[in-house]
Symmetry: C2
Subunit: 209 residues, 2 copies
Amino acid sequence: MPSNLSDNIPDIVIGRLPIYLRALNRLAQDGHEVTSSHELGQILGISSAQIRKDLSHFGGFGKQGTGYQIVFLEEKLRQVLKVNREWEVALVGAGDLGTALAHYGGFAERGFKISCVFDNAKEKIGKPLNGFTVQALDELETTIKARAIKMAMIAVPAKAAQEVADKLIAVGVRAILNYAPINLNVPPEVRVQYIDPVIHMQRMTFYLP
Amino acid sequence: MPSNLSDNIPDIVIGRLPIYLRALNRLAQDGHEVTSSHELGQILGISSAQIRKDLSHFGGFGKQGTGYQIVFLEEKLRQVLKVNREWEVALVGAGDLGTALAHYGGFAERGFKISCVFDNAKEKIGKPLNGFTVQALDELETTIKARAIKMAMIAVPAKAAQEVADKLIAVGVRAILNYAPINLNVPPEVRVQYIDPVIHMQRMTFYLP
């Protein structure tokens, strides 16, 4: 595998790999051992040619005609995506959404573990939340630095999100999943992904009669 | 504006319009009246040429050198995206995530209103949830048909999501925001958008050292 992989692979290809991995997980859960770019394509609504091309960036994981060994391809994709380990994630915001995220059971098996939760509301600080104790925002810097956490989820109101992002970045966070409905300004070494349900809904209404 | 707009505009352009609209909303809230493709580009991390090109699909909303009237451009984008009206949305799943969605205050001002909530858990059915009464899944067909609802959010476990989607589609739903971590099989006339935080996180870990 080339050493400077991220320089060579288009980001849009990287963006599809987690989707392939999720489909493979499901096929494995359903008892399948082998799949094909054709089968994956049908599940995902992506052409089999695209899937073969995407996977060929990483050396190709299957032989023409014999398909992909699911367990092997899963392991390779986990390696490429670096989720063959567990990433600690800081969660900022313990409102309705933060609470739902803290309770979500689907992170661990896919490479992530929320390991601390912060909020600035006095009535929340110190309270238990699914095994965590909600910490004051004041403790964010010390905690994240001490644990060398590189990833965070922001689930605070839009008006507070940029300030929270700045604090996170200042203590070493390099990947942010932002649920606040606002674009964040971050330096080039920081990755941000956005989750805003309205953006997705507005993208669909365009097509509705 | 051409009549068969959706045949001509690449889906990737449509996908950026809600992001432009959100940025314009924020500029307006902050008291701005005029903006430019340059300013929007800086806020969003998109090139100003791309923004001008995207907007030119719809006839162009600004003049070279004078910038865009924010209120005017907002209104135009709302028209194009068909969110200059309120869409009723059915929510299926009243667990942690469904509850957070039912409480979320950011839908109404951006074109959407959750208008019914369904779950199959006996202890949830009939309970109030932010002004709604959680209904049994058995009532889904009748309620959605009666109200001619075209949009839905699925916030149920992965193993139940396809069955729920099939039911929704059978009674006329044509746009689904799916929070279950599974790809849905839907007929071509139905749009699906996916929200799965792990997909976004795995896309970022690739780039982390």
